[in-house]
Amino acid sequence: MASIAARARPLAISADLSVERKLAGINIFIALAALAVGGLMGVLQILRYNGLDLYTPAKPLLPGGYYQGLTVHGVLNVLVFTTFYIIGFLTYIFAKALNRPLASSRLAWATLWVMVSGLLLAAIPLLTNNATVMFTFYPPLKADSLFYIGLTMVVAGTWLLLVNMILTRNAWLADNPGQRTPLPAFMAIVTMLMWTIATIGVASEMIFLVIPWSLGLVGGTDPVLARTLFWFTGHPIVYFWLLPAYISWYTLVPAQAGGKLFSDPMARVSFILFLILSIPIGMHHQVTDPGISEMWKLVHAVFTFGVFFPSLLTFFNVVASLEYAGRRNGGEGWLAWIFNLPWGKPEISAQLVAMMLFAFGGISGLVNASYNVNLVVHNTSWISGHFHLTVGTAVALSFMGITYWLVPHLTGRALWSRSLGVAQAWLWFVGMGLFSHFMHELGLRGMPRRSDIGGAPYVQDEWRFFLFFAMIGGLIMFVSAIFYYLNMIMTLTRGKKLAEVPDITFARALSGPEDAPKVLDRLLVWVAVAAVLILINYLPTIIDIISTATFDIPGRRVW
């Protein structure tokens, strides 16, 4: 039946996407290499929490000890791994969904080269202990200027992908008048639009404040202005990480699970809401900052609850799609259909596990966002517990899950072991569940984050029990990571050559794009709405800071 139907449809000619394939492969390779090194630092941290010091033997490689390791952990895991993976994945998914190569292949290669050059420049001070300033690099901590210049280049490189996407979509629209942009391409371009607007913050911080100051061109800086610009990008960056995972959950997972997307219009609406609401809420990271008025903190808190709405839409839409798949596979009952999802596929297990842990991350995130409740948890290990569920699992584990089908698709080699992949996902679930639970507990008992707890004089006796179990969780995650990299390396070197490379199937929708209001595709309208909200929520504070700033805070190297 199915094959007759397939043959009856006119065969679409596949565009030549060889450049996009290569770019996806290279970017994802760099991303995974970064995650391997970054993840290893996490293991050193969790052992050191319990008094096992591997920093002394690692001294020749890691002269800055705990804090250099933590900076490497943060920078590689959430700046390098995420950004390179996302650029690679979106480049390919976008071209694939439009069935058309990017408008300029030279621009596409330039994107990669600008990003890679930036990465190499930033890596020099990072690895030589000349940028032990954490991934947030708050001035007046002062790193070597190459660190800032390199990171700025990585960001600037990503903007080139947006330019390329716009050119490509315009050409596609000209060839397909009146058609709706296919959902995965729509989501990819909305993600990059949101990200590009969001990075105006950190780019201004770098270009106007930090780089001239680190080069010695100006004597001082203003830390509050720097923090405010940083968090202008620093909150929406979490949506830059999450939205690509959502693209997979919305447009790929339902098909891989044997079903359809529940609602295409609802998916479009949620992405548009992320575009307009992700940015004007960044000051919820500055609830405890002096120099910012309580009133604006409250406004950002209110808008933060607004962005909870598209998150819930996503949750319901994805779960409804999964339920549809489960029932199509013969599942019944209120929840029993869950067992009829194809758990034996590693790409499915990994992403479903990621979604489950993400639900808990969402709940602890609500606590963080709750304005005055933030006082209990701000900068404690609660926050570490929280973001290991979100970026460390919802994002990182989904991205790993995607590679279980994407790497075979790109390389033409079958995954070395599917069952190892499934085991990897569940080990991550158990390990992360323990680790993050105990980190949350430690935070509630007052343990600060970003502190070399193994050497701290104020460790409370009651912390030790929780620290121990957090370590057990961390070590299980480490085993999971080893399974993952073993599987990837074996796939690349020993994976069976596939006679026929499986193509990507995007999920069809129960309620399709024809039901979505046309205005959703008018991206300029939404960019304008976003700009207005950003100006309202940021301009008064930024003007206030700049007009009172003296720019006389000298830089410090305190490590």
Partner: protein
Amino acid sequence: MKDKKFISYLFEVAWILPSVAIPVSMMVAILVTAFAVGVRVPTSAGRVSISAVVAGTDSTFSQTGLREIAPGRYEAIMLAQTFMFVPNTIEIPAGSKVTFVLTSKDVIHGFKIEGVPVNVMVIPGQVSRVTATFDKPGEYLIVCHEYCGAGHHVMFGKVIVN
């Protein structure tokens, strides 16, 4: 076909309503605790010249320490610097209400007191001002909870309530 569309529309509405109701009700809860119960967050408390603070000539921060400003009402002027608080111990009788006024001499530090809702960043050039009431006798741990350099983990202090 029409029916199916309608049912799926009902489904969408059934999802959307709670998606609006949940955040809105949480929002209301926050507004109530902030303004009716009075759990407030740090706000702008003015700027201070870092060179004056470092030189010891600033009128507020040249004299650190605890001052009783009214019966049971104290003000603690404190400096955060790598890697200590000055002073690092504050001693008060139970039931005291203390306003902590801080700034930093160098990089950003954190100031969190366990057991009371005090959690504020200490930023060079800025004044941080937070108030708490200490009802129960005992030792309250103060930790620096923002990375401030190689000795960050040894930066802590105490509030001793008698």
